[in-house]
């Protein structure tokens, strides 16, 4: 079951009536946690470009197990190792990397690049979707753990 963070109980209906500072707080009518799936190649390319990285499309990548992957998109990390995005039968893009011969620091570098791409992709898709729905981005900031906080508003 989804648990509210500490201190958020005051937002629920019954306690909101009792809370002395309830008027100063906003109420949350719904919350959701969404796991990312990369589905849009154009948004993926935009995210890679936003991060100042170079890419090549429709390439192949051979991993150390001998498998040749048909990659839709390949970026290269600073150690010269490829990070490939391959379309699955389901329609989303999975990440393929080959960690053989890499030190733990190099593996971490690679993971950090993948994280940055995923976060930027999520950001771009969300901003695009919110704007399509008529929302304006009122606040944007980096909070702890490199998390991006956005506040979008509209009047209806």
């Amino acid at each position: 079951m989804f648990r509210l963070p500490a201190g958020r109980q005051a937002y629920c209906c019954t306690k909101r009536l009792k809370a002395p500072d309830a008027k100063r707080r906003y109420s949350v009518s719904g919350e959701g946690i969404i796991g990312l799936e990369i589905r849009c190649l154009a948004a993926l390319i935009k995210s890679i470009v936003d991060l100042g990285m170079e890419y090549r499309e429709l390439s192949t990548m051979k991993t150390s197990d001998g498998v040749i992957h048909k990659a839709d998109l390949v970026v290269t990390d600073k150690n010269g190792k490829a990070i490939a995005f391959e379309k699955t039968a389901k329609g989303d893009y999975k990440v393929i990397t080959d960690c053989s011969g890499l030190s733990s620091a190099q593996v971490k570098d690679q993971q950090n690049i993948i994280k940055k791409i995923r976060q930027r992709y999520s950001y771009n898709v969300v901003i695009d979707q919110l704007k399509k729905q008529g929302y304006v981005i009122a606040q944007e900031e980096k909070v702890k753990n490199n998390t991006i906080r956005l506040v979008a508003r509209k009047w209806s």
Binding site: V28, S29, G30, L36, S122, I148, R149, S156
Partner: protein, 69 residues
């Protein structure tokens, strides 16, 4: 009167999204979460507060009555 709808989003360092919908009564809030999910990925968890089950405008009407008293 126009009502303010606000969405607070947290995008974690690996792209996972946390969405908080504020000030939206009725099923509209679920629709917003679903429309974002459709583009971004898979809805893993959701929680709807009592506001979800309220009809839009209900509280405004009640508040007006209270003010008159």
């Amino acid at each position: 009167m126009a009502a303010k709808q606000e969405i607070e989003l947290f995008i974690s360092d690996d792209g996972q999204l946390k969405v908080h919908i504020k000030g939206m009564k009725g099923p509209g809030c679920l629709k917003v979460i679903e429309s974002i999910t459709k583009e971004v990925g898979i809805l893993q968890e959701k929680q709807l507060s009592s506001e979800y089950y309220e009809q839009p405008g209900t509280t405004v009407a009640n508040e007006s009555k209270l003010k008159k008293k």
